[in-house]
Symmetry: C2
Subunit: 189 residues, 2 copies
């Protein structure tokens, strides 16, 4: 019952290609080559064509990110460490050749896909802010730190990748971790 996996593999493959080579690099040919999925069933699985595939890919990236954030819970420090860890792992695993699939879509997509990317960022921001509040951070500070954490991390990933050097990422990570410790200290008092 349900799909045997071809559709799933295509979605994951598209997510990887978006992260590594951008929207134009995530062509059907590339996705099929990377996943071994059958060419004949592209439009069976994705009647909406490439946009539908890309939308599914960034939705999956979003869900996974949200799920991992939830597991982190606890303090502002652990949330920040965990969020940074997700992107550090992406850079490490790829040898600094991959970035964020959502960012890749945000800079070169149709209006519909741009909207979906915006929704992903809103979800991440809201989820992070809610978890920070659970950790005892005041709502206003939780909201502004959530936006800063996401934007600075995403920007740092872009810089580290372009410079082929993890240094800018680690510099930003250290600064954000210091801020997170301040949040926890204030929450405890």
């Amino acid at each position: 019952m349900a799909e045997p996996g071809a559709r799933d593999r295509m979605i994951d493959g598209a997510a990887v290609l978006l992260a590594k080579r951008g929207l134009q690099g995530a062509s059907f040919s590339e996705v099929l080559e990377a996943t071994g999925a059958p060419r004949g069933s592209i439009y069976h699985h994705f009647p909406g064509g490439k946009d539908e595939l890309v939308a599914a890919a960034i939705a999956r990236v979003s869900e996974r990110t949200l799920a991992r954030l939830t597991e982190l819970g606890g303090s502002a420090t652990s949330l920040t460490e965990g969020f940074l860890g997700l992107w550090r792992a992406l850079l490490d695993r790829s040898g600094l050749t991959a970035g964020c699939a959502v960012v890749a879509v945000s800079v070169a997509a149709s209006d519909d896909l741009l909207d979906r990317a915006g929704t992903v960022f809103r979800e991440w921001t809201a989820h992070l802010a809610a978890l920070l509040e659970e950790a005892g951070v005041a709502p206003a500070r939780a909201a502004s730190f959530a936006v800063l954490l996401i934007s600075a991390t995403e920007g740092a990933v872009v810089m580290a990748r372009a410079q082929r050097d993890l240094a800018p990422f680690e510099s930003v990570a250290a600064t954000l971790m210091a801020s997170a410790r301040d949040l926890d200290a204030d929450a405890a008092s």
Copy 2:
């Protein structure tokens, strides 16, 4: 003497299209249509093809950014305000449809162009750090704040554009301005 302007217009046009539509959106056809430049002279002006045009475009964006930063000088506060102002103006002028051309190249380019984008980020970071030091900020703090300012701003531009809402940018801007005031306060003491 020198070029009458066709080459210059193409470079500027490419920069605008990169910012608005990404690398694949900055095709020769689009650039020619946007600038009115003659199709027959593309490879006269850019023997290296598209990569050479894109390289020239992000180099020009970089130069302009560096020049404007130099004009700002003064304090950490004025530098931060000015840097944020450059990107706020970009978002405003375009109705939140344009982003940073260098980021667009960083997520979807050839190795050579990726290197050039990395060089741009290094130049911005070094220049900002140097100006912060002139403003009395300690070298280590100047370096880390320069990286944070660039990465957070770039990330915020991506988020604001995707969400079609300036709010995330302004939230990040407020946080960065508060940090800049701290730097100035410490520099004065």
